[in-house]
Symmetry: none
Subunit: 457 residues, 2 copies
């Protein structure tokens, strides 16, 4: 099969890609609120079928987001299989008032298409579907077997992906996984990432009185917000170093090769600082330290905290409860379950054993060795379409990569396709239309290269 | 003038009192929403006039709630003047669905009259008006000059009462002020309070990045929630002691007499702990320490804190801002303006000079000396009608008492007249009809006793 022809098809097919992406964006699918999940799964399955991909909606049990499965068998090369991992769910849209257009508008302005999920991950998903469609519509065949695993809980911690993988191990068997995650930098270079960090996401809650009280009673009734703050201050020092006992015990140092890759990885410090409107990195890190931290730094981040009256003006209230959401990023070999126990032990030892810990997410980190053949293939495909690429030891973000590696025993690699400043998870998320086209083409090349490679699981 | 006769009049006049109170309740007057304020001011003035009290509606400027002024000159004793401070505005009625009857119904069921403002403060106001009316209708005269200052912004922070007092200083001149605040306890004892605490209510805000970021970036972008928490932890120690430099400089110790009063004040610790569902007071205070703290404790209370994602489930976000609302209760001699500057200086000295401070409320504390004759008079009146009373050095709450003391240079005292659990500020607010009658009688006695006293400003 001549890839050139499929690339031409991609160009002609762009209006259709944008229409399908708009349809996807306009279907809300907020996993954190179980909003539109079922509807979106059915919609994704329909779009797969429309593109010629056999699809079914897999279910684990009631009240668990369904998983959309897609499959095309290759007539020409039925012995090699590439699996695309994506997700159809999106982040919540708050704060509403910072959106210039409605969060689920799918509005196109110039080179951008706007809406929650435009990049993460509906935009990325559509490019993969359209790459496969290009082969099917051009040749009636694909270069290798292709599988799609599209989950609906990624933005909410992928709680059941491991169970899905265990249940459908055979169905999902493959020779390599292309991950959903990553980005294209400001110089148009896709970032090829070999790993993802782990994540432990907990909600801590402390309660004092039965009901909110008049704040004049603060002289005799304890304030749970103060107590929570006191507890939080035992977790890290002012420089961000985590003070929980044994927290770092299982962390491995970066290898020489990893450090070499990190060193060579470009990073535009000025551009980054400008985008986020910051003057300095945490602890005044320099560029190399920042890059190293992105690959291998562990964090204890307050993702949300709330207690009492938070509306306009003043209300003299003594709150009865206080809550905080914390996400700890983990690196390879840190076991989230072990880390939860360390946190529990720490709070207890510091006199905060009564604070409830609700684990909302626990995923281990994963990292693919840079010597795997799929790494070379992905880099080559990127080079052919984008002219350049960036190799990255591990993304700073988290995904359930560990579950795939652990259950399917195949290498896993992510190739970034969304613009680096596309406001993922933030108001006014968008995707760049030219990038959607390039990315689709890149996957055409990748499929062809993969079919000719030796990588066989 | 024989008080006995006026007390008989009160009994006969109860249907009229209840009718007037119903009329008042049925006129909404929510200052927070500027709902019915103008109409209610006119209505109150009309009711004053109907009772024989000269009245006018005073205005400061456009968009400021008018103040209703009332005055009766005494023929018999034109050299002594008592001023009643009340307010005609009420709290919002939300949540609607928790009201058994319409919020402004004025419905009478058994011994109770229901509706927003039934106690706070329309019920309290009507008893004072009717006490004056009793003298006027019985004797065509009153025991001393009487003035009414009835504001329309009390439930919204009394923003302009100080300006009114300054503008009408001469008009409002008097020898003593009877405050609007307080309650009758479950054993039918009115609480006579000699003061109110001050309040400094501020909102602190810290900002780091221009926009919310993905929490994976927490390795290099600072988290404003952590920064705010670090700043907050410099404000007080774990026991609640405020660590701001010079914060307590102007605080006077309680006098021996104050301590004696506090000791004798009844307080049902078990009932209180049951109501709020708490096991221990702050720092395991005993009953006496708790009572002392209610009178003279200063606090740094978190009334609200918010940053990042606070909805259901998890969102991996690195917030760009964090906000906290703090109310500091102040005691006499603490100047709110001075205290704000101390807070500012403290934050700056601790490296948090960039945190913005928004002052939402600043009122000084006020306390009347227990040796003032008006204290004895009020206690005597309460004893005569209720059989008993409770003396309290200062309420734990805050009101604009300082403005009266500071502008009029007279003692100020509050005598509680609403039932302690009358659901002030809550759904199904009511007033007890027998208490309305007793309270009116109590003010008859008080007026008579005051006219015979030596207290002359």
């Amino acid at each position: 099969m001549n890839v050139k022809k499929t690339l031409d098809f991609v160009d002609k097919n762009m209006p259709d890609l944008l229409k399908d992406l708009q349809t996807l964006i306009r279907q809300p699918s907020i996993s954190a609120k179980n909003e539109g999940i079922e509807e979106c799964a059915v919609l994704v399955s329909k779009i797969l079928k429309k593109s010629g991909i056999k699809s079914e909606v897999l279910r684990l049990k009631k009240n668990v987001a369904p998983l959309v499965y897609g499959e095309v068998k290759s007539k020409k090369n039925p012995n090699k299989t590439l699996l695309f991992y994506n997700h159809y769910d999106v982040q919540p849209v708050e704060p509403f008032d910072l959106w210039d257009n409605k969060p689920f508008s799918g509005k196109i302005i110039g080179n951008k298409i706007y809406g929650r999920g435009a990049s993460d991950d509906k935009g990325e998903l559509i490019t993969r579907i359209k790459a496969v469609e290009s082969f099917l519509k051009t040749y009636g065949d694909v270069p290798c077997n292709i599988k799609f695993v599209i989950e609906g809980e990624e933005e909410n911690g992928s709680e059941h992906i491991d169970q899905y993988l265990k249940k459908y191990k055979k169905k999902f068997s493959c020779d390599g996984v292309i991950w959903e995650f990553g980005y294209v930098d400001t110089k148009n270079r896709p970032v090829i990432s070999l790993g993802m960090k782990g994540l432990l996401y907990v909600e801590l809650e402390t309660k004092e009185s039965r009901i909110d009280a008049h704040s004049s009673l603060a002289v005799i009734i304890k304030n749970p917000a103060w107590r929570l703050i006191n507890a939080l201050r035992t977790l890290r020092n002012e420089n961000g170093k985590i003070l929980i006992k044994n927290w770092h015990d299982d962390v491995l140092p970066l290898s020489k090769n990893d450090l070499k890759i990190i060193k060579s990885e470009p990073f535009d410090t000025n551009e980054f600082k400008k985008e986020y409107g910051i003057k300095n990195f945490v602890n005044d890190k320099n560029e190399f330290e920042a890059k190293k931290a992105l690959v291998s730094g562990v964090t204890c981040n307050i993702a949300g905290i709330v207690s009492g009256y938070t509306g306009k003006g003043s209300k003299t209230v003594l709150p009865s409860t206080a809550k905080v959401k914390i996400d700890f990023r983990l690196v390879p070999k840190m076991d989230p379950k072990k880390q939860v126990n360390r946190l529990k032990k720490h709070l207890k030892a510091n006199g905060y054993g009564d604070i409830t810990i609700n684990v909302l997410n626990a995923e281990a980190a994963a990292r693919t060795n840079s010597n795997e053949e799929i790494v070379k293939i992905t880099c080559n495909s990127a080079k052919k379409i984008f002219g350049d690429y960036i190799l990255n030891v591990s993304s700073a973000g988290t995904g359930p990569m560990y579950s795939f590696v652990n259950n399917l025993h195949v290498p896993c690699i992510s190739i970034g396709t969304s613009y680096v400043f596309c406001r993922m998870h933030s108001p006014n998320e968008f995707a760049k239309i030219d990038l959607l086209s390039k990315t689709t083409k890149c996957f055409c090349v990748l499929l062809e290269e993969f079919s000719r490679s030796n990588s066989k699981n």
